[in-house]
């Protein structure tokens, strides 16, 4: 909650799928013959908006992966200067609308004339890499700690729960900025871009795990009471085995949903950190960094602000749409 406004997304509650237990009962029984996976898949396919979101997400992933190729085909290298595209007096692109032309599909960067198209593509690479990996980190940590807390109970649960409460009640964005800014720019022989990605993944992933952990803990607690775990236990299965053999498959749905929903939050956080100047270091492009660059010239050259802003918006929206659809389809709250 305290990652500023950006983070509230994951706290959102799902709307009940059908509006009363009365109707949900038969509705669910109606399709009880199929596995949850099939049901979810069917529901998801029917949800046009979610499918749209998924298509955009896939498209962005492909674009990010193919960034080097696309740049070669339609753009210019990300660090190539085109000073001839820039009005030297004002530092802005000579051509209108941010210098958009057939040669520069999304215009050029003020001051340097670098190709915005290529930089957006590489920015997508960075953004998505950070978002996915940090979601992965959050999920791993969240599942391990959440499941341990919920399953083991006792002092383990109280310690982990306190830590989660503490992390959630913490000036997170401030701390992320501070942490990211004191960590070194290069280490382990990685260059600025990858070392920073590792740092961002670590910090964002770390602050994200309580969101997943809380949900996993809750689910584990309720699942623990269920018979099948009791049964497994009575048959002499040891704790870790119960945990992973029995609980994890049942946790898969909520974990999938919340991991999906934490990705857009991570994109926003990464962009925020880059915007505040502690993200991916130049000359490597990032959307937040481009927005921050645009601060100086946005009144006279709005294109350069709108393009990265719109990219962040579209990406986050697509992930949110898909995540919402996925949640409705799996409806982890209905269990």
């Amino acid at each position: 909650m305290s990652l500023g406004p950006e983070a509230s997304v994951t706290d959102d509650k799902s709307a009940p799928d059908a509006d009363a237990a009365e109707v949900r009962g038969p509705a669910e029984k109606a399709i009880a013959g199929r596995s949850l996976k099939q049901i979810a898949w069917r529901r998801l396919k029917r949800d046009k908006v979610a499918v749209g979101g998924a298509v955009v997400v896939l498209f962005l992933i492909v674009v990010a992966i193919l960034a080097p190729l696309l740049t070669k085909l339609f753009g210019h290298p990300i660090d190539e200067y085109h000073i001839d595209q820039i009005d030297q007096t004002f530092g802005t692109p000579i051509k209108p609308f941010g210098g958009i032309s057939s040669d520069f599909l999304l215009g050029v960067e003020p001051t340097s004339g670098r190709d915005v198209f290529s930089r957006i593509l590489y920015g997508a690479q960075t953004s998505l890499t950070v978002a996915f990996l940090s979601a992965f980190v959050s999920t791993i940590l969240g599942v391990v700690f959440g499941a341990s807390a919920g399953y083991l109970g006792g002092w383990v649960d109280s310690v982990i729960s306190r830590v989660m409460d503490f992390l959630l009640a913490f000036p997170q964005l401030l701390f992320s900025i501070a942490l990211v800014s004191v960590l070194p720019y290069s280490f382990l022989g990685m260059d600025g871009r990858w070392s920073r990605i590792v740092v961002l993944v670590g910090v964002i992933g770390f602050f994200g795990w309580p969101y997943i952990g809380r949900i996993v803990r809750g689910q584990t607690l309720s699942l623990r009471e269920r018979e099948f775990v009791e049964a497994a236990r009575s048959m002499g299965a040891r704790s870790p085995r119960i945990l992973f053999r029995e609980l994890l498959p049942n946790l898969a749905a909520p974990i999938l949903v919340y991991t999906t929903l934490i990705i857009p939050t991570n994109i926003l956080t990464e962009a925020a950190l880059s915007f505040l100047g502690v993200g991916i270091p130049p000359p490597n492009p990032s959307w937040g960094g481009m927005l921050s660059d645009a601060v100086g010239t946005y009144q006279i050259n709005p294109t350069y602000m709108i393009i990265p802003g719109a990219m962040i918006f579209i990406t986050v929206l697509a992930f949110n749409l898909f995540g919402d659809g996925l949640r409705d389809a799996l409806d982890p709250k209905a269990r």
Binding site: A169, A271, L276, A294
Partner: protein, 333 residues
């Protein structure tokens, strides 16, 4: 009740202690690891080893970390004395020390930034509560209608828009293209309420928009859940009119969870709306925090973190207490 309150207060204090300890640890240990030296912040262009050492001694940087931390806590509780050249300056409690950069006492420095953050957070909160809750309720009541779809689409777009983009976009439009509003520059409320209002308008709307989107989704979900509750059916079965059913029974429980989230969000914001304040150049706690972080100004970073944590913890406390009042199950259960 009293025992509960005391327990909660002790918890709050422990949380704050942990926050200071963690912050302190990070900002004292990390520079040690990376080899940067806070004493050098004090030095101008001409640094010589002797005066750097002098500053280290003066700042107590040569003490063990725990001693430094102890002194910091002492300052918070009882105030602290600083050698100041000709004489000793007493920094009254709660003393957060002196800024490495400007040598200003941190406590009054941050207190003077607080009104800006308060103005921003409270104004935006009022706005987003009104916007978010009303649209969320309408959306829930007209579930599936065009209004509902429009609100939910707008809300989803809203949560996908970062303030650092909407902030720039809105000032580009309203300040530079349309010229309806002046470029933001905080004017204290007491100086000119009208100007204060005009200046804060854009930051409020920008910040509120994001939260309103979240709250609309939240409210709608809560309301839908509540409307499906048995006691709402009971209320209808008693023959109550829809207005009473919705306005009294459904809102009462549908909005109760919002109180929690609202309290926590507001608490978090009071510690500094880092992004909004920086986008709109508002010199509040969030702005100060970023400046301090960029300049490695540890006492200020510590101060802001502590204040931010303080607000969050207090908000938690208040929310719990308020919840006890509005939800009888908590109060007496």
């Amino acid at each position: 009740m009293l025992a509960y309150l005391i327990r909660r207060l002790i918890n709050a204090v422990i949380t704050l202690l942990v926050v200071t300890l963690v912050t302190f640890g990070i900002f004292f240990m990390v520079p040690k690891i990376t080899g940067s030296d806070p004493a050098l912040l004090y030095i101008g262009k001409t640094a010589d080893a002797a005066s750097i050492e002098g500053i280290r001694v003066k700042m107590g940087l040569n003490d063990p970390v725990l001693v430094q931390y102890g002194k910091f806590l002492q300052g918070l509780v009882a105030g602290r004395d600083y050698a100041n050249g000709p004489d000793v300056t007493h920094c009254p409690a709660p003393c957060l020390g002196y800024s490495f950069k400007t040598e200003q006492e941190v406590t009054p420095l941050l207190l003077s930034d607080l009104p800006v953050t308060l103005s921003l957070a409270i104004g935006a909160a009022v706005l987003w509560l009104i916007m978010g809750v009303s649209t969320g309720v309408i959306s829930a009541l007209r579930r599936g209608s065009i209004v509902d779809r429009a609100v939910m689409t707008g809300a989803l777009a809203g949560v996908s828009l970062p303030v650092y983009f909407t902030g720039l976009l809105s000032s580009a439009i309203f300040v530079y293209w349309l010229g309806w509003l002046p470029p933001s520059n905080y004017v204290p409320f007491l100086e000119s309420p009208a100007e204060w209002f005009v200046q804060m308008l854009l930051p409020w709307i920008t910040l509120a928009f994001l939260f309103a989107a979240t709250y609309a989704r939240l409210t709608r979900a809560n309301m839908l859940e509540t409307l499906g509750e048995d006691y709402i059916r009971t209320a209808r079965a008693k023959g109550l009119g829809e207005r009473t059913v919705i306005g009294k029974h459904a809102l009462r429980s549908g909005l109760t969870p919002i109180v929690t989230i609202f309290g926590l969000d507001l608490g978090a914001l009071l510690g500094g709306a880092v992004l909004t304040e920086n986008v709109f150049n508002l010199r509040g706690l969030g702005y100060q925090a970023l400046q301090a972080i960029r300049g490695n100004d540890l006492p200020v970073i510590l101060g802001v973190t502590l204040i931010a944590a303080f607000f969050i913890v207090i908000a938690n406390l208040i929310v719990d207490l308020v919840y006890g009042v509005i939800d009888p199950r908590v109060r007496l259960g």
